[in-house]
């Protein structure tokens, strides 16, 4: 919960940016999608359980250094997003400790805080403020955001009139101007058409610098291999491997293929 403007200190390259120690995360979620007082009263005294425990992460240890671009891979439900949420302080850990040495900006989903009834212009402010920028910072960067989104005059039209590509483009543009110490991006790169995708990827590459740490979650293995200098692979909440991108990705591919053939055997 640190706003971006609060911390602008220098980081020596290779100093630690995020340290995750023995991290465990179990969710206690209610079994009902919508817990109600009525349901609670009805089951009073019957000893019925209302919550269930989900193991999202266990014993994860990672250090991310400044200058690193860390890729996070793994199949659906591996705990990637949970890990990102813990690092960005959205979800508290159940075990262990996470230390963050700098300002964090998260791009976990596109268009967070956007209101479709407002114009693109208003939403740039809304989204920027939601991401922790100050009004002055947005004023200063507004033209850059508008240019980057390539929306032209449509920026003054209400966002409900946008196509999903336009929506995603504006959302990414807002996020792309934030220049935090630590940037976490969760599958937000696959937006817009091929041209815009490349443009956003280039922007990510521009953001790589020795006094910044980037954490990238993606299923696009080629992109991860291209951009990152370190990769971790999560499976069912545990850390399977970390290290050189091409090696970890190769291991992951073998694992996925092995599992695939095993399941195809079962079908026979």
């Amino acid at each position: 919960m640190i706003s971006l403007s609060d911390f602008k200190h220098e980081h020596s390259p290779h100093s630690i940016a995020v340290s995750v120690k023995d991290l465990g995360l179990t969710y206690t979620t209610s079994i009902d999608k919508k817990p109600t007082l009525k349901a609670r009263l009805k089951s009073l005294g019957r000893g019925k359980k209302h919550t269930r425990i989900v193991n999202a992460l266990s014993d994860v240890n990672i250090d991310v250094h400044y200058g690193a671009v860390l890729g996070v891979i793994g199949s659906n439900g591996a705990g990637k997003s949970s890990l990102m949420r813990v690092i960005s302080g959205i979800v508290p850990p159940t075990q262990g400790r996470v230390e963050v040495y700098g300002s964090v900006s998260t791009l976990l989903a596109l268009g967070v805080g956007f209101n479709p009834a407002m114009t693109g212009r208003d939403n740039v402010y809304l989204g920027g403020l939601a991401a922790g920028m100050s009004r002055e910072e947005i004023d200063k960067n507004f033209d850059a955001i508008a240019d980057f989104s390539e929306l032209g005059d449509a920026i003054d039209a209400p966002m409900r009139t946008y196509s999903s590509g336009m929506y995603a483009r504006l959302a990414f543009s807002v996020a792309a101007v934030v220049e935090p110490d630590i940037l976490i991006i969760d599958e937000a790169l696959s937006t817009g058409d091929a041209k815009f995708k490349e443009k956003s990827l280039n922007r990510i590459k521009e953001l790589r610098s020795s006094d910044r740490a980037l954490i990238l979650v993606s299923h696009a293995l080629a992109t991860i291999e291209d951009v990152c200098n370190e990769v971790i692979w999560l499976n069912k909440g545990t850390l399977m491997a970390r290290g050189n991108p091409s090696e970890v990705i190769a291991q992951y591919r073998t694992f996925v293929n092995a599992r695939k053939s095993a399941s195809s055997d079962e079908d026979v």
Binding site: M1, I2, S3, S5, D6, F7, H9, H11, S15, I16, S19, Y27, T28, T29, S30, K34, P35, T36, L37, K38, R40, R85, V86, I87, S88, G89, I90, V91, P92, P93, T94, Q95, G96, R97, V98, E99, V100, Y101, G102, S103, V104, T106, L108, A109, V112, G113, N115, A117, M118, D122, Y125, L126, L129, A130, A131, G132, S134, R135
Partner: protein
Amino acid sequence: MDKPVVVYEPFRAGMPPMRDYLRTLWGRRTFIAEFSRSELREKNYGTVFGQLWLVLNPLLLSGVYFLLIYVIGGSSDANRFGHLTATLFLFYLISNSLTGGVKAITSGQRLILNTSFPRVMLPISATVIALFKFVPTLIVFAAIHLLIGLPYSWQMLWAIPIFMIALLMGLGMSILISCINVYFRDVSSMLPYLTRSLLYLSPILYEASSVSDEIKSIQIANPLFYLLDSWSRVVVYAEAPTTFGLLHSLIWALAIFIVGTYFFLSRERDFAVRL
């Protein structure tokens, strides 16, 4: 090595470090303003007719009750109409704060799951919206006050602290109910009955002085009773409020605010997994 800027450790139902929390909250004030503005804009309050509606709605409401009490009930006392509108409008500040607050957290799911910010911002912005809706009604009341020739005096300055108490109470209620609704989602469907009961239990359609002492002693349990009575004394009759009335509402407002905020702040880190 630098000291860590933030450390995240296992959740305990305890208060977050208050100084940091308040500092972050203050740093986010422009977001609260912009967020509230966009919510209002979404409901068309950005347009001329939308804003007109903000004035028209309280006018029509008081018109309905005017019909009920003076035309059907047969009373013809201008003061009572003044009392009705003044208290009704202040009541709506609180009840709008409650109705806006109840879903503040549950409907802010996307924001909560993807951004880290002091969650209390959401119910605060519900109260800001209620406040925004209250301002035009104040102007309507000022006009009514003038038209029906209600008295003026310096005692009316008491309206300022009473209004602050009302705002604090609305804020406290909004924070408390938004938190409760995370755990029990049906609270939002029960809320209309709660606000309706509060409306009838409070001295709006009648005056506090017309209530028997027996009922008055029960009304100590009603947080709004003496608040609305004090408001009416001050803005309608231009009298000073009673010390008891002022203290009663202040204590209730503080109690609701403190309990609500404690409840909320100690639980808010748990919200993300409950949504």
